[in-house]
């Protein structure tokens, strides 16, 4: 049953992404000032939101693990962190491509870019840290603490465009008081956010099953060693 739901959702996501691609590449006109490159925004912004969402899920998983002490939540936190990194990488790369065209440079050390990269590195060191501990409950406990300590960085990254004058554009989305986009364009951005966010959730659920299966296997292996 669960597998079927996953497949159906994945098929819907795939279809939606393709139809979005059509809207983004052919349906919408070039932007007045930026030309064709602005289309990367339709992947940059949804990936950023998805990455932040995954970071939040990682926080939830970590808090729930500390509260419930069930390793399922630890597996959930790891899966969410991995997706945070994946979508974070997409955000950084699409942003750099855009910056190369618009600013003429790949990277600028402004508050938004720096804080995003720093959070990305912090979540990467979370994964590195996990590999250094063998014992599952200690690993879950310690990495939950690290994940909670890392999350404030995500909030700084999210709010940085309001707190500092950054080279990165300020808010353009109308719900954050931006209003810098034509309605059709903004809708297209949300329509691309939906499948990407659902894709992240699907991937989390797949990784979650792998993590849980892995834990069972490790448990059996340990039992076998004892015998």
């Amino acid at each position: 049953m669960r597998e079927k739901i996953t497949y159906v959702l994945a098929a819907i996501v795939g279809a939606l992404l393709v139809s979005n691609l059509y809207t983004i590449l052919l349906g919408l006109p070039d932007e007045a000032n930026q030309g064709a490159i602005y289309r990367i925004f339709f992947f940059h912004f949804p990936s950023a939101i998805t990455s932040g969402l995954c970071a939040f899920l990682s926080l939830v998983g970590s808090l729930m693990y500390l509260y419930r002490r069930n390793l399922w939540w630890d597996a959930f936190a790891v899966s969410a962190t991995e997706l945070t990194l994946t979508f974070g990488a997409i955000v950084l790369m699409t942003g750099m491509i855009w910056a190369r065209i618009i600013w003429g440079i790949w990277w600028a050390w402004d508050a938004r870019l720096t804080s995003t990269l720093v959070s990305w590195l912090a979540y990467a060191s979370y994964l590195i840290f996990r590999r250094a501990i063998e014992e599952p409950t200690a690993r879950a406990r310690f990495s939950a603490v690290i994940s909670i300590f890392t999350f404030p960085g995500v909030i700084i990254s999210w709010k940085s465009i309001e707190w500092w004058r950054t080279q990165h554009p300020g808010p353009v989305i109308s719900i954050r008081g931006g209003g810098g986009m034509a309605p059709g364009m903004e809708a297209a951005a949300y329509w691309n956010l939906l499948p990407l966010a659902v894709l992240a959730l699907i991937l989390i659920s797949i990784r979650l099953r792998q993590e849980n299966a892995q834990r069972l296997l490790d448990g059996f292996r340990r039992q076998a060693h004892e015998i």
Binding site: T137, R141, F149
Partner: protein, 219 residues
């Protein structure tokens, strides 16, 4: 408090951490001056970053020892088993580390002023505030991760890997403020957000540290 006293007494008798981190800081300060050979104008531009890199490295040395020194004779287990609440143990460790690191910083500052020909005393009050706030943030985060990594292999490597990315917002604010203050210029209103960021950083991580230390130490 008892823990802070104990750690400081151990430190005063052995002086191993403070000597190591102090001489390390001085070597780094020297290396920087060879590496960049800065003019007076360049020094004004880089002094904040330079000082905080030195202090952050020195901090990693101090923090590594903080819990590691309890490992011989199973002192850490004894401390956890004692009636002391884990949060008190944590705060004691933070205070001791803070004092040790502050000592290193206060000794380094005049030497920095001497080597780089900088008159750092004019804004000393504000500079001291920035030092206190940042060192507090660094030790809170660092002591927490020191407790996390104490039983790991690669402990010395893991601690900086984890602490520095999380410290960057705080360090960034400190660097901005120090660059201005260390050369004796007063703060302009432009810089108040950095001060707020630093204070907010300390507050959030102190609360997080106090809330989570039970889980880290006891389980």
């Amino acid at each position: 408090m008892v823990i802070a006293g104990k750690d400081l007494r151990a430190e005063l008798r052995g002086k191993e951490t403070i000597n190591a981190s102090l001489s390390f800081s001085l070597v780094i300060l020297l290396l920087f001056s060879f590496a960049f050979d800065p003019t007076a104008e360049e020094t004004r531009a880089i002094c904040g970053g330079l000082l905080w890199l030195v202090f952050a490295f020195a901090g990693a040395l101090v923090l590594n020892r903080s819990f590691a020194r309890e490992l011989p004779n199973d002192c850490l287990d004894a401390l956890i088993a004692s009636p002391l609440p884990p949060s008190a143990l944590f705060m004691g460790k933070v205070m001791a580390n803070m004092l040790i690191l502050m000592t290193v910083e206060i000794i380094c500052l005049p030497i920095f002023g001497l080597f780089y020909n900088v008159n750092w005393t004019q804004q000393f009050g504000m500079l001291f505030l920035v030092l206190v706030l940042t060192t507090w943030g660094l030790t809170v985060v660092g002591t927490m991760f020191s407790a996390l990594t104490v039983n790991m292999r690669l402990r010395e490597l893991m601690l900086p890997t984890l602490v520095y990315p999380i410290m960057i917002p705080g360090l960034l604010a400190a660097i901005q403020l120090t660059t201005l203050l260390a050369v004796g210029e007063p703060l302009t209103p432009d810089y108040y957000p950095w001060l707020k960021l630093l204070a907010g950083f300390d507050l959030i991580y102190t609360l997080l540290g106090l809330a989570l230390v039970d889980t880290v130490l006891v389980g």
